[in-house]
Symmetry: none
Subunit: 162 residues, 2 copies
DNA sequence: CCCGCTATGTATAATGG
DNA sequence: TCCATTATACATAGCGG
């Protein structure tokens, strides 16, 4: 979709196909999230590949995707309860690990936010001289943080149900 | 994504949201099909809305999506979590991107400036050039956002111990 | 509400490191 | 192979019919 128009057919070249897969997977995920957020709907995507990657991938999470689908397909509930406890501790552990990294980012963000705001206010220029676009950037940053945290919370909740 | 840049948030206007939903749903379907064809993978998307439309929608078909998801569900828990964690990297990526923009503007000597500013605050100097009403408005807004972050982080922490 | 249009924002194929 | 950059193709918000 750039430089050259690409024919809608299987990409024979391994490297090109894999590169395209990664880019498009990322783009697809973004689109799913956008649709979900903008229109207030539950949405998920699943990719199952035996060539490009060895594992199936699902968004926004396996549990969410699965639950969504079973909502209107009404799946036998019994078969999913067996491994629940073991799964829960495993998943908690892994989420905690990932969360640790995310926290560092959040803390760094918060520090930067505070630093910048305080600097602009107290540098002697005052609020009235603060550039609008900077304020907008700041609010966007905060919003993103909140959204990111919300998503994590959702995943966490879903993990317990799993 | 056209004419105007759209904020990534729920579209309040009914007509606009529905229009956007239909357009984006179509676009998403196309993307799913393209990824599937170009990269030789099975892919599906499911949208479940209680507002925009009454029926859940799935591609390439409900049955296919269900089958795929069922397969996915049988994976060991650890692998599922790893896949789901892709969401995590996206969040980090977005945060990093926003961070980068801020850094470019005010990168120099943040720590030193922060120290200096804190000193100014504590010393009673520096605030007198700021319009009171503006300062109050902004600080309230920021505090609210940060408080929201704190509460969510606390909930996250408590969840781990849970 | 559904088209179709079009200006703009986005996604991404190629490319080079 | 992965990352960053760039040039282009594509997706879509806002509008008018």
């Amino acid at each position: 979709m750039a430089r050259n128009r690409v024919k809608l057919a299987y990409i024979a070249n391994d490297a090109a196909r894999k590169a395209s897969y990664n880019k498009r997977k990322k783009g697809l995920l973004k689109k799913v999230n956008e649709l979900s957020t903008l229109c207030g709907v539950d949405a998920c995507a699943v990719i199952y590949s035996s060539t490009c990657n060895s594992q199936p991938e699902a968004w926004p999470s396996t549990a969410a995707a699965y639950r969504m689908l079973s909502d209107f397909k009404t799946l036998p509930a019994a078969e999913q309860s067996n491994r629940a406890m073991t799964q829960e501790s495993l998943i908690k552990q892994q989420i905690a690990k990932a969360e640790e990294g995310l926290k560092k980012v959040h803390e760094e963000n918060r520090r930067m936010e505070l630093t910048q705001i305080m600097f602009q206010i107290l540098d002697g220029r005052g609020l009235n001289t603060v550039k609008k676009e900077d304020l907008i950037d700041l609010s966007m940053l905060i919003e993103q943080n909140l959204k990111g945290i919300d998503i994590r919370l959702q995943m966490l909740n879903e993990s317990y149900v799993l």
